[in-house]
Symmetry: D2
Subunit: 338 residues, 4 copies
């Protein structure tokens, strides 16, 4: 006898999210089935909904910010057991045999998979994922809070800790949305002198509530000049999609400062070579992280009290929730609950 | 007309600290005279009192944890003015022409000076120091609190931030004395998972008050095993003088973990090569820092609330205060006030 | 119909190497069978011969310096084909699910395997190994030359390139045996100012032939003093097994210098804390590398002309060849040819 | 009685270089007078000739690639003596009191001086410079060869060694002019797999003579694609002034690859964020180095045989030599000899 479940699927590129019935998957070799308790809606889910990611097979269930409980364990899976609370993020498995994998650089696997893109994701009551993708969720972290940390959280936390920044230095967060409102919390809880940069004066108070020591309204102030007046930012975490905003902030880096680029920009980032040379300034891209990085992110979040600000919708209202995310009005992450 | 001041001087190696009258120094070229508001007593002052540092000229006034106000500025000094609050630590000036100086490695200058050793130090109402040695003291930091941060504080803060540790990792502090009680605070305020290691169960509560998440009583527990059970320490800040205690803790390092050695040990540190190899573990020494590092230390301490626990004595009781420091009973730094 | 092959096996701990007939293995899932063309004899093979590595199942065929040709490919193996020239070293496969593996630190897998220890190794005409373990051998590199590079070569090359050394600095190689005579060549070909350190004056000429710019006879000279006179070594590659020799060399490190420990020492390495602190000097262990590291080692060796000095024996004389290695008289690596 | 000397001076911005008679300077405090044996002509000398560097006092003698012999030593100078062979490059002294200097970052001194810009430079028979600026010239290095190494040489050598590149990796040099023809030699002598990139097929043979393993003609081939086919460049040393050429090469970086920007570009460098993120690729500026860096550059050049290709002119023909440099036809550095 097979069990059925509800999922929110996209029938073809551009089609709406529809609730459909499916068989609950059975865990294949190396795989686990997770009972989904919460799944964040990420702007990247539009890659699946719109079909802009090449080679997606439809119908497809989006969702790569999954928090749940292990339901079933496939053959050959070691180290996990049914009932454990686990999360899955953008990293959806590596191949093990490409050059990147052979060097242990699992996050840049040339054949890397993404939940909700390469296989059905977390807009569902159950999801099947490779065991490699699992991150333990600490007891004190609620499912709806853990979900966005598995993509927006890890991306900022992991970029920051791998940026080469030294403890106590000045960290600026460019953008105060889904990623930025987490990045500001991480920077503050990690003891950095934290600068939030966003559009509009009204976000200043919120930034300070999140722990920012300084706020820059990029619509009214010269970002580079303000940062320079603060001594310059050793790290700018660029969480926006505006290439121009990134280019404008580059001049606000301190000597030896680095801009970490976390999101695909709508235009090239323009680097002034004199500014780069006369301060050994740099720009580097950073691609999220693997399951163990998520685990570290969740552990730190649990320990330090970092939490996303979320709006929760039932799975049945996936289409509405997705539209809410797209509207840019959500504060700041939308989460589905089956 | 010359002014006079009181100092606590050592007439010859091994002689007691005596209060004597001196002329207030006038600032020479490149020098400033500082009116001392507080001066910490450091165990290293025994190098002067006992004469174990080679080549000291006596009588000598000890003291290299100086907080005060600029009184007079010598010829050619740029960037400072009378009335500024400043501190001076172990770094007492560099030569500018040795190989280390030519490479910008000022703290390891081959002709480096130390206040209270190379010239008269801070057990005094006034002290003359090279302008290079000055660190700005933030307004919110009291003189008696700033003084110990200029040696015990900077040594731990600067070692930690230059250790290569990544934000959020496990940092263990070996020893809970003058350096250790500050190191624990820094580690905790910087968001590290902080482990304090000391002798005796009774210090556990205090360690937790300082922010430690874990406490290990090295008289009752196996330090390496306990650290390993916590996942291993990425950094061990070794603030003790026992070579054996350091050797014992080495096995508690995480993979890629590093022990930072901050103090001269009473015996060699013994490294187990298999433990080193099978985890890429390492041991490195760290020599305090220059004035700009002190400035960063003071700024972070002011911003985050890190403060030393001190016992204050008037300058007149320098001998008594020094004996108190030597007794090992002080909690944790003794500070003189002129 | 099954094929048979000759192997040199150890029947039980302490037993002699005996030539026995075996079935040629068939490649299991994820495995390949390699026709062995050459296999180096490493001192670590004594772990198998003497049974000092825990948990070895006997009879066991030693050998982890394998150069050969892919004979057969198992199910699920991607990226390899029969006829390719490949090598296998100390790294014999990782589990994929332990904490180290999840972080991409494959060489320190908690369940890591070693050819000739965990499964039958290269003292044989054919060997079955996990596909993960394979490194491509460049065309210009002979099998008998490639074999020792897969253990002695990669260990030194990989440690050196990951030591943090900057191009052109002073690199000292402590020991001039199997590892050391390769390390000297790598250091010289990589443009480092290369210092060889060994016992006896007579090795000086050979060291210079290998590319060393300086030679120190540790039986007649003070190693630390000589290194210091050369400006200090930024890196000491410690290829010896004498803990005392390593301890003696520590004082010859330059400021910011590091000793890389490559082999298990017969006694603890003793670190003088004052030397460590007053130069930020350090000691770190390094554990070889994975197949991709071997591939880089072989590629660089082929391109730059680095070759081991070897003595070749037929597989039938494995016992004699092993004794030769043990004698310490071989110059410098003994290689078996089936 | 005063001695006189010939210099080639610029009377005002835009004026021609004219040979005029001057008094030989006497060494002031902290200064030395150097008898010039050779002085390279650098494109940056146009900052003085054209007056595009702000605040230059005229008449001014250009020249910051000075090789000579110490003639006279000023008061307070330690560590140098008359008769020593010394060189001076772009770094012309630091202030000692700005924030950068206090942190030992002497090359980025906020009040840094440049010979031939801040004071009279090396187009002269004698020049007075701060003692800080002196680099020892190895015996085996001719003056005319040392001169260009003090600017074009150090800039490439120092950028390369501080780029974080690991020994043996792929290094690409973008541009094959004054800097590039030295960078290719350094990369090759340091054991890197070296790629030269320039305009036109005809430079390929020369690149290979300099040690390049690969040559890319950027007028006929897609630079990023060719580099990617070689596995990607871990480091691109960008020695050109074309922002477009740099932007085009960015896509040819390997995973974790970095472009080091050494020269002011004529337009912003455009970074594709997706390429940056999906390979952790980065761009960083690098500003030459101090006297000790020059000393290391000269020592390595002497030891390894790196030499500039030069055209030598007598000082009297400074105007002609300068025009030759400007023409872009010189191969590759023009050097004046008094
Ligand atoms: Zn996402
Ligand atoms: Zn892969
Ligand atoms: Zn002290
Ligand atoms: Zn010095
Ligand atoms: Zn071996
Ligand atoms: Zn493993
Ligand atoms: Zn120049
Ligand atoms: Zn300066």
């Amino acid at each position: 006898m097979t069990r059925t479940m509800k999922v929110a699927a996209v029938a073809q590129p551009g089609a709406p999210l529809e609730i459909v019935e499916r068989e609950v998957p059975r865990a294949g070799a190396g795989q686990v089935v997770v009972k989904v308790q919460a799944c964040g809606i990420c702007h990247s889910d539009s890659l699946t909904v719109d079909g802009t990611w090449p080679g997606i097979e439809y119908p497809r269930v989006p969702g790569h910010e999954i928090a749940g409980v292990i339901e079933e364990i496939g053959e050959g899976v070691v180290g996990w057991e049914a009932g454990q609370r686990v999360g899955v993020g953008w990293y959806g498995g590596h191949c093990g045999h490409c050059d990147r994998c052979r060097r242990g650089d699992l996050v840049l696997c040339e054949n890397g998979m993404v939940p909700g893109v390469s296989y059905d994701g977390g807009y569902a009551e159950y999801v099947q994922v490779p065991a490699q993708t699992l991150a333990r969720i600490p007891e004190s972290l609620a499912d709806v809070d853990a979900a966005p940390l598995l993509c927006a959280g890890i991306t900022t936390f992991n970029a920051l800790r791998n940026s080469g920044v030294r403890p106590g230095e000045v960290v600026a967060v460019l953008g105060l949305g889904g990623l930025g409102h987490l990045a500001v919390q991480y920077a503050a809880k990690l003891g950095f002198e934290t600068v939030a940069i966003a559009r509009g004066q009204e976000k200043g108070d919120y930034a300070r509530e999140l722990g920012a020591h300084h706020y820059i309204d990029s619509t009214a102030e010269n970002v580079a000049e303000r940062l320079t007046a603060l001594g310059g930012a050793k790290i700018v975490l660029a969480t926006v999609t505006s290439g121009k905003a990134m280019s404008d902030a580059f001049g606000g880096l301190a000597v030896d400062g680095k801009m970490m680029v976390l999101g695909i920009a709508d235009s090239p980032i323009e680097i002034n070579s004199a500014q780069a040379i006369m301060g050994r300034r740099s720009v580097q891209g950073w691609p999220s992280g693997v399951a163990a990085d998520s685990e570290d992110t969740l552990a730190f979040s649990a320990r330090s009290g970092v939490r996303p600000q979320i709006e929760v919708y039932p799975l049945e209202k996936a289409a509405e929730a997705y539209a809410r995310m797209l509207s840019g009005q959500a504060r700041f992450r939308v989460v589905l609950q089956p």
